[in-house]
Subunit: 421 residues, 2 copies
């Protein structure tokens, strides 16, 4: 798209079409939404070669641009990943439709019967970076919740996202739903992102999924409500009362199972009494597993560790790195997490109920865990089927954002001629 000068006009058109589609989607039958997603899944499979070819163009562009191997891996679609996209669409299709569900109902002495019923939010803007599968996941979840979606993918995945979006559009047509229900912003121009952030009246909420650059832009520029999605500065605190066997399994899993996801552990906090026992053994195990351990003054005496600097606290490595620090009990861990955490996911390993309770009560991360790997911070593992991301803010959605979190509600009140005295 060369006419960068008319991004505002382009986006206003997209916004108006999304608004019109949202008005129809709000009462679209559950069966039609399901059929659209199933048809889209079939289209993904039927057009797998086309998607792979589009992805090859993106990969060439990425290699020319000098993207890191980790970035190229996030961008890459192979047959298994393409099949996974279709499967993800079917999973969302099979979920219960949230719209119209009665969340609560009760009677009042006045004779009123009150129901609190789920409704769509309206128009959802999703701004994401390189992973092309988000096009399908985000579009599907928005549609399931009866929202129109405006998707703005990263410039690296431009062609892949477009090929996937074509399949979503095919699904919508097959189910007789407005094609504008899921729109993909057809330009790489970054000005489109800035524009989206200001489209109050057109966009009801924006879900930003990306790194620090995007988060900063959103914080500075957004006039539209946002589901805050900060980095996952995930801490694992090993309490003096931790069970050693569980600690080994959980710490290694939390760090090494997959390092590029937001639930991967980034900082290990070790209770002081464990410094020469379990704590040292855990660090040895991490080093052995190939993890670069950025250790505080005390722990840096252990073989194979690197000396941490201040910049290592509160850092999201998304790689085979972990920061490690001695703290004084659960309160020391709480202080560290309050200072350096991102309210995403934090865990305590302990057999001491009082310590766990203190950790659960005094911290306010979206997800707090006890004796479980932080890699479980995921909508699927929470039973939500799929997610757009993990919200770290406290407004509206928090934790994994699935279809239900993309809804609002209204009150339906019935009487029999009731009047107020």
């Amino acid at each position: 798209m060369k006419d960068g000068h008319d991004i505002a006009g382009l986006m206003a058109g997209i916004g108006a079409r999304a608004r019109a589609a949202a008005a129809e989607l709000a009462f679209a039958p559950a069966a039609a939404k399901r059929a659209a997603l199933e048809a889209a899944a079939r289209a993904i499979e039927a057009r797998a070669a086309e998607i792979a070819a589009a992805n090859e163009r993106d990969m060439d562009f990425g290699r020319d641009k000098g993207l890191s191997p980790a970035m190229l891996d996030r961008l890459m679609l192979d047959p298994a990943r393409i099949a996974g996209i279709a499967q993800g669409l079917r999973t969302v299709a099979a979920q219960d439709d949230p719209v119209g569900a009665v969340i609560a109902e009760w009677d009042m002495p006045s004779g009123l019967h009150i129901r609190r019923v789920r409704t769509p939010l309206g128009v959802v803007g999703v701004i994401f970076e390189s992973r092309p599968n988000v096009t399908a996941d985000a579009g599907a979840l928005c549609l399931k919740a009866g929202n129109a979606a405006i998707l703005r993918g990263g410039s690296e995945s431009f062609h892949s996202s477009r090929a996937i979006h074509d399949c979503l559009a095919e699904g919508l047509r097959a189910a007789d739903l407005p094609e504008d229900a899921i729109q993909l912003v057809p330009t790489r121009d970054r000005a489109a992102v800035a524009e989206m952030l200001k489209m109050t009246g057109m966009i009801d909420v924006i879900v930003p999924r990306g790194g620090k650059g995007l988060v900063g832009l959103v914080q500075r520029e957004a006039r539209v409500p946002v589901f805050a999605h900060l980095e996952g500065i995930v801490h694992v605190y090993v309490d003096a009362a931790a069970d050693p066997k569980k600690a080994f399994e959980v710490v290694l899993n939390a760090k090494t199972r997959r390092t590029g996801i937001c639930g991967a552990a980034e900082c290990l906090l070790i209770d002081r009494p464990l410094a020469v026992g379990l704590g040292a053994d855990l660090i040895a195990a991490l080093v052995e597993a190939g993890v670069r351990v950025h250790a505080d003054e005390t722990l840096a005496a252990l073989p194979g560790t690197l000396r941490a600097t201040e910049a290592d606290w509160g850092r999201e490595y998304l790689d085979m790195d972990i920061a490690a620090r001695i703290v004084d009990g659960v309160d020391g861990a709480i202080d560290h997490i309050r200072r350096y955490g991102s309210q995403h996911t934090d865990a305590i390993l302990t057999e001491d109920d009082a310590a766990a309770e203190r950790f659960f009560t005094r911290l306010d991360s979206a997800i707090l865990m006890r004796n479980a790997s932080t890699q479980f911070a995921d909508g699927g593992e929470f039973g939500m089927g799929a997610e757009i991301g993990i919200a770290t803010g406290k407004m509206h959605a928090r934790g994994p954002v699935g279809a239900e979190q993309l809804t609002s509600f209204k009150y339906l009140v019935t009487g029999d001629g009731a009047v107020r005295n």
Copy 2:
């Protein structure tokens, strides 16, 4: 406060103290919060004369300023109203504490047990206009939900709000809770409002309660998330299948019981077949009751009506006025409400289930009613005990905003050494 030039510094100090208080309040025992509210209620009663004297100063100021009788009435505190403020505090005190309540819990095949638990939002800013009792209601609801409150009352109620706030502070001290849990902005300078709207990082959400000027300012300036609170452009649609007896009772109650509240009916929509029957009779009854009926072309032929102009559609009179219009069936009513409504409260009067269902499904007001007076649009009438206002936005809170709507949630996940495959 004369040093208007340092409003930013003043507000930053208030924000920092609120943030510190919120950190303590987040795990304050339910009993302490209850005790603080009960002690505040006793203080209101003990200091009733002081509050009345402060209110007299505000009333003098208001009369000098030439406030309308309706405005002066909203400002005025008499012994009954002061007793009502104390009673309101006791009602909130007696409610269940929302913080820590388990909203949902479930087990996953991975062995994880997941709980979704209510937490405070953090720091809540409340910007309100002349009614001094809001000081107590808003402060109490924020405290109940474990939030620190920054209250900014209207300049007309400056002294009354301060006297009421003194009682809240006394309650907090009596219960050993941080006095900064409920702060009142100590200046009439409007710059403080603009400042609050930008205090991201300090204030988590703003609840604006006021007229068009405030709503416009908030829409232009707010960087902090806001619970939108538009006017109550409340419609009552009388369907051809309405029961005449219910229609008379509900329409008169919806308009005339109290005209100054946001749930008061402002526009009567009459199904075309009723134009010469029930509809005309309803308008005659309204005219008889002293209501100025601003009628469309057809209805303006009825005796005692005024001819409506375009400005009468979508107008919030908050007085003994109502707009009236003929529409073509439920779809005509839906079209009118979509165009002119404020997504606050709208009602249908009908015995036809299909018409009611269409009204409930195709409109998306925060509150939709069938065969009931819109004057029931109130937190107390919904069983919530008290409310700060009726939110018309779709993010987070919607409808009556009570203590529960002033909370967020977090996930508490427990395993027994669970790791992800």
